[in-house]
Amino acid sequence: MDLTSVREVCDARHRPQWEAGDAWLAGGTYLFSEPQPQLRRLLDLGRMGWDALRVTPGGLEIAATCTIAQLNAFVPPEGMAWPVAGALFGPCCRAFSSSFKVWNTATVGGNICLALPAAPLVCLAAALEGECVLLAQNGGQRRMPVARLVTGAGRTALAEGELLRSVLLPARALRRRAAVRRAALRPQGRSAALLLATVDPGDGTWRVTVTASTTRPVVLPFDRPPTAQALRDALEQAVGPDGWVDDVHGHPAWRRHMTLLLAEELRTELTADEEGA
């Protein structure tokens, strides 16, 4: 929709001084979907020219401006044994309730910074030990794990005017085996629970990540494959009685139920693989 209070769109390449009423404009698929009467200026990231996806010796660098469609189409270069890319990227990119047409312009950075519980890229990046590169207004730079950047439903640790530049996924996380589960009230609906589990083929460590059903990402590392009870207890404890999302996309009790159920499915699947291997 038209954002009628917006007076100016500035090219972010020129590093405009941050003012009250400013917002970074990435794909705009959230910003233009609701009235934003508080906004006066949009700082347009559309011409930053950042490489969407860069494979480095250390892993994968995803630019904040990488679109969902670009990430969905990503194929690891020849010789890179990154099973995670195949197992998780596609399902996470498709875990939006929006159309593929929206994915053509919606960005990874916009998804993480909007920080909805149902943000699938928050889940993906948190599960893969993603680290955010953040640019401050004064030119300073800091890094922070994605799982810590998102502090609540729609809340982040971003400072005023701080810009997410990219997300770094370390190669060791990309080499893990992985599986994904999702629940929603209808097949293409808004995620009500999204769970990823990964296993390190080397040292056998586990990592279970939960979003959508929880107000902030919940990441549970395990030194060895957890038992059903251990996984359940760890989840209940990490989320706490008030940590389940309560909105029209699902009742908290149902979300909790589905989360525990899907976590157990993931555990069974990855343990079976382990034993089969």
């Binding site: 209070s5 404009l25 698929t29």
Partner: protein, 543 residues
């Protein structure tokens, strides 16, 4: 700053407003095939291709289209030759009102063969409120496999036969090419935009209105308050029998009776200025006690919504010996059924435009199912003779009964009459949900039956939540109480209905579905009851 985009081969250089989306930019330049269903990325009615990539133009910043090529549904055909997808929608009749069709066509034209295999997924961003998708899917499959799968498409005319033939929709060509003209699909030079400030309170008296700041906004031409409108009360429900419904509504009222009710109207050169005007209005309210539960509203202590009380209509009817049949019944079933507020969500939102024609006659073009009744109502509200008022409807983008209600026309007509300039009001999707919904029902049903499945008695106590204003409520209640008894044959019937008080609006099927839904759930089960119980004219016994 310069700006240049190519739309369907034509170059446009007008600079968009900073926060403008591509959808409104394209429409302002006459590409009316680009529709608004939601303005929020959900419905896909606004789908266009930007450099060949399908996007929802309501989410796409217009400034970003600089230097790019945009294709709308109007640019899809190669000259006279329809695109295969357009041809398939025409052949499979993949539409009813057709408001979703431009977006469906533009989406389908961009699908990869792989995406065409999973249409529920590929079309998750395209809503159709009319077809139930079957015809849409037929059309897309036909286009994807070159016509071999959709079986109900007639390949050959059935000779001279008049019957049994699927006639093409006379508007089909216009619908699939984006040429069909819905309510707002026409250039109206100099049109002003009206925006409504709505009440945040369920019940309040307006004690003061501060309009000066709003009037200072550049482009604002008029602010209408309850002091500026005729005192006449009318019903927003459009019925042939005008006195079916209570005259309890004013264009703008000094007392607001539901959260979301109109408080003031701001008319400006642009929607942006009208919205800014609304933001600058200050209203002082004396908040009054409110009642939002229909049962509570019937109690003696309940705050009064209207001076006449909280009951807008009652029905009490008895036929046959109700007590007798219940005393003799083999089985008695008793249950309470509740329905919630719902919205019909026609893809085209409510909208109206008004202007004075060359002869000075008030002309209103509106998304309505009842232009003739709108005209009658406007004559009453504005105190004008019928020859002074002309009301027309374009193609209506879905109504389902929901466009049988005076929601926009009175206020735009009044503003246009005052300003002697064209004025339009286009509802947002959000406004649809706050101010136009279907009545919730509470149905307490007791039924008596004999062991052989014969239904012998029915007692109904129906409480219908009418919302704050009467509009269609009396007739909806009558329907609910009356039609329900016509479905099965009953020995004896007693009906008690009350309607009270968010106003609830015109709908499809009125109330029959609700009370009938109540019927289907009784103990014996529809399959066993129906044959002996089915309604038959007197004297005939059930088959």
């Amino acid at each position: 700053m310069t700006y240049e985009i190519t739309v369907n081969g034509r170059v446009h250089t007008r600079l968009p407003a900073a926060g403008q989306c591509l959808r409104t930019y394209l429409r302002a330049d006459g590409w009316y095939g680009v529709k608004k269903g939601c303005d929020a990325g959900d419905c896909g009615a606004c789908t266009v291709h930007v450099d060949g990539m399908p996007v929802h133009s309501c989410l796409y910043p217009a400034l970003r289209a600089d230097g790019r090529e945009v294709t709308t549904v109007e640019g899809l055909a190669a000259g006279e030759r329809l695109h295969p997808v357009q041809q398939a929608f025409l052949g499979a009749r993949g539409f009813q009102c057709g408001f979703c069709t431009p977006g469906m066509v533009m989406t389908a034209a961009a699908l990869t063969p792989e995406q065409s295999q999973d249409l529920p997924d590929a079309l998750r961003g395209n809503l159709c409120r009319c077809t139930g998708y079957r015809a849409v899917v037929d059309a897309i499959r036909t286009a994807a496999d070159h016509g071999s799968s959709a079986r109900h498409i007639e390949e050959e005319p059935c000779g001279e036969a008049v019957h049994g033939r699927s006639e093409p929709d006379p508007a089909g060509q216009a619908v699939v090419t984006g040429a069909a003209r819905y309510t707002l699909d026409a250039d109206l030079p100099g049109v002003l935009h009206l925006k409504l400030l709505r009440s945040p309170y369920a019940h309040a008296r307006i004690t003061a209105l501060h309009t000066a700041d709003a009037l200072d906004v550049p482009g604002v031409r008029l602010v209408l308050t309850h002091h500026d409108v005729p005192g006449v009360r009318f019903s927003t429900g459009m019925h042939e029998q005008a006195d079916d419904e209570p005259f309890d509504t004013r264009v703008l009222d000094g007392v607001v009776r539901y959260a979301g009710q109109r408080v003031t109207a701001v008319v400006a050169e642009t929607e942006a200025a009208a919205e800014e005007g609304c933001r600058r209005l200050r209203v002082d309210y004396e908040v009054l006690p409110a009642v939002t539960d229909p049962h509570a509203a019937l109690t003696r202590k309940a705050p009064r919504v209207h001076p006449g009380g909280n009951v807008v209509h009652e029905v009490h009817r008895t036929s046959g010996d109700v007590d007798g049949v219940f005393a003799q019944a083999d089985c008695v079933y008793e249950a309470t059924f509740r329905t919630q507020r719902v919205q019909h969500a026609a893809l085209e939102t409510h909208a109206a435009r008004a202007w004075l024609d060359e002869a000075g006659r008030l002309t209103v073009r509106t998304a309505t199912q009842t232009p003739h009744l709108v005209r009658r109502a406007l004559c009453r509200v504005l105190n004008l003779p019928p020859r002074q008022v002309r009301v027309v409807a374009g193609r209506v983008g879905g109504g389902f009964g929901g466009k049988q209600e005076l929601l926009c026309e009175d206020i735009v007509a009044l503003a246009a009459w005052r300003l002697r300039r064209p004025v339009q009001l286009e509802y947002t999707r959000g406004e649809e949900f706050t101010s136009t919904t279907r009545h919730p029902f509470d149905i307490h049903l007791t039924a008596a039956a004999r062991r052989d499945g014969t239904l012998t008695g029915l007692k109904l106590r129906i409480i219908c939540d009418a919302g704050a204003y009467g509009n269609h409520s009396p007739s909806v209640l009558e329907r609910a109480c009356q039609d329900v008894t016509g479905m099965y044959r009953w020995g004896a019937v007693a009906v008690d209905g009350h309607r009270r008080l968010h106003p609830h609006r015109a709908v499809r099927g009125f109330s029959r579905l609700r009370t009938r839904a109540g019927h289907f759930r009784h103990g014996v089960g529809p399959r066993r009851t129906r044959p002996p119980a089915r309604y038959c004219p007197a004297g005939l016994s059930p088959a």
